[in-house]
Symmetry: C3
Subunit: 335 residues, 3 copies
């Protein structure tokens, strides 16, 4: 037994006026889920990018802000993704918020006991103000959002979407080159299975750009997506060799050609060089252009390219933090 | 070698008056461990619940407070429990405190090197102001508390206790129904092995309630606990079918009947329906009553019940955060 | 689509003057990496210890400070080490900073995809202001530091170094006994493989101390290190039995003699008692001396010794937090 509890005075712990945590929709994003790139149009993208740019300025000058002080993010990762979870955690912390990191072992705990995603999400929303979800199954983010009373941000649902990656890719193009309209953008590598390529391509149909798709025959862009691009009236061409686009591209978006995709390894050995970015290749590129990559890379961009000022892939990583800071602030009604 | 260290001026980093971190016992809880429900009587429970209610009001209005700013919680989980660790982490963060999350891999690190729990705890108390411990072995929380110089909160020690769960259960009854005395409370499902049922039942012997125990024959409440209930002079009955209590119960506390408990699966199939809460069953329940569940659930409460305002199990989850906020503040001498 | 985004007013989120995050080298440590004990001389050690002592005073009185508010630490552990990661996390949090805890699963995520350490570090520096690295391979911390644009602190690189451990060991001697010069320091146990012994011994060559090395024949200090000690002109002797030094030692630094090191187990059984610290043995020690251990221990210091005021090993753990607080503040240019 605790001693002396009878004598405990019950002075109120907190004193506050009529200050209320508001759930008002201060703007079009407050209280919303971020599930798919198809939620965005040019106006909303411009708004997100303006906020992300402010975040960049803030971090580069004062380093952090107290905008989300007292807010709690549940970072729910059913599969590990160091890069993405670290980015969201840093984004929340740089805005003064707190994080419940559930980036390991979900599968060994509640899920092992047979709990559904819906129940897990309805549990976490009792603790947190916003949920970031990574899940191996397509459509899982939608399910989570349907059940959660707090905003859900999709951080990748299997073969589905990973919208914040597409947003940071597009934001990087704008930050690096000043605008998106008028650019010639080349996608290089695995265009068939590359989720980041698909999402970015969808967003680019909202702009007046020329697209070049550079891939092996068996890894060409899916027909349905190619038709979307054509329906949008964009100038588009396909080729097998990055050398065909290196001299004119404003953006080179590189992804990995995985050996495992080829049944004929001799074929892989024959073509892989067409999709490797070397320092020699970069000598033929425009002086003002950028090389991007969603990372991690495994040889498809040579290390010698890293010191080239046009190598934008690590700045692209940093932009991911700014985009996530903007989105967190926005869905929490603070931006 | 670092350059210029000889010239380093050693200006004092911190300036402070005689403000001291106090270890005074400001109330009966400051500096105490929370190990078992048997530590609590009606007075101390009333005090905890009053504080937890304040936490609820604070979170519902301003969202967070700086009450525990600068305090560090070591969250030491030898087995994963997403729900419980997330609840404690959120509780600490919403009061402005920080967390050392050791919710994975303890077994692969110090413990693998043969360190005892006593030494692990004496190490962590060097870093943290309070320790929350989850451990698979009964009695482990007591050992940790014996060695630690900082308060230890038991977050489950195997088949032993999980006192914060029992507190949040009882707090939920009071918050939802206004009082505990005078209620008819039915426990449903696995009453033999269910740790939460046992702890809550013990707490309820402090109140003037009627208890109904609804279970299969092989999962009846242990005799020793039933005797405690009877010794307390409570009105108590046992039955095999939830239908027997649905019309009169103020509280339906549901737990899962696990198939694995039955040697005769035909018997399981025969009786399992007696312990499932369906929307049809709820039509016969009182208009003002609540359904509770420690979660996770696997079918024993149908999803169709979730939209019923009497379904209190997710509010119960939220109350867990409030109870843990109250306890953390109290053992740290701040409430 | 988000509704009403067209009408979104874009008020600036942040207002600030010309306050800038400075990367100026305010002292010899700002912006530096902490990779090896060989970076330190007596002046820089004195500076670190003075700062760590301030941290101790601050924690013992007010508990925390806001010195690193807004700064983010990436805690990147490729192998689990509960003790070390908890110490760094607590250090950062007690100074008001935030942590990205990557203490599990790195190997299952980016690394599994074939990412190099260089790329992982260049990714994390986009999010964090300082990186603490634990990695199983010798030299990994050096590689990380070469690529990172933010300070890297080596928290152990395999058989390489673990400099913060050596600093906390030496700091403990100074805090406990007031000075280092003039002391007789005995290292006991596995002196051949013990990384902590090697690093501490190197630091001690900067001081005027007498060294006693107590080990089984097969676990004697490596010759190259013994030569360093002799070159430094220190009074040094080797022995096989701790009884030979117990009456004169000011410091007993104990490490474990692992059974696995012996091919002849009979030999192990014969000698192991020479390296165990018992309460009886302590009766022969000086009244003012200390027993240290890097922990975890497994029997080499008996539990009965723990209550002896000369048992300094848990205070040594606490000093680790103070040293890490000092180093974090210093490399971030805040001390």
């Amino acid at each position: 037994m605790f001693n002396g509890t009878k004598e405990l005075a019950l002075e109120p712990l907190f004193h506050y006026g009529d200050l209320r945590r508001k759930s008002t929709k201060a703007n079009g994003f407050a209280g919303q889920d971020i599930l798919s790139v198809s939620q965005f149009d040019r106006e909303s993208l411009a708004y997100v990018f303006a906020r992300a740019h402010e975040m960049r300025q803030m971090v580069e000058t004062i380093g952090y802000a107290d905008l989300l002080k007292g807010y709690v993010l549940a970072c729910l990762f059913y599969e590990p993704s160091t890069r993405t979870s670290a980015s969201f955690i840093a984004a929340m912390e740089r805005l003064g918020g707190s994080v419940i990191p559930i980036t390991q072992g979900v599968q060994f705990s509640s899920v092992a006991k047979g709990e559904t995603l819906a129940d897990t999400v309805r549990t976490l929303e009792q603790y947190a103000d916003v949920i970031v979800l990574r899940h191996p199954e397509i459509g899982s983010a939608r399910i989570a959002a349907d059940y959660a009373g707090v905003p859900v941000i999709n951080a990748g649902d299997g073969a589905g979407e990973h919208p914040t990656q597409a947003l940071l890719d597009l934001f990087t193009i704008q930050e690096e080159l000043g605008a998106i309209d008028g650019l010639k953008i080349a996608m290089v590598g695995d265009l068939r299975y590359g989720r980041t390529v698909h999402s970015l391509t969808k967003l680019l149909t909202l702009y007046d750009v020329s697209l070049r798709f550079v891939s092996p025959e068996i890894l060409r862009l899916p027909l349905v997506l190619m038709n979307e691009v054509k329906d949008a009236g964009l100038d588009v061409r396909e080729t097998h060799d990055v050398a065909d686009v290196i001299e004119t591209a404003d953006v080179l978006y590189v992804t990995r050609v995985q050996k495992e995709r080829f049944t004929d390894l001799a074929q892989y050995e024959e073509v892989k060089g067409y999709y490797e970015i070397t320092a020699e290749l970069m000598q033929r590129a425009k002086p003002k252009m950028i090389v991007m990559h969603p990372l991690p890379r495994v040889g498809e961009i040579h290390y010698a390219v890293d010191s080239d000022p046009r190598a934008a892939y690590f700045r692209q990583v940093r932009n991911g933090m700014y985009i996530r800071m903007a989105l967190l602030a926005m869905v929490l009604g603070k931006a």
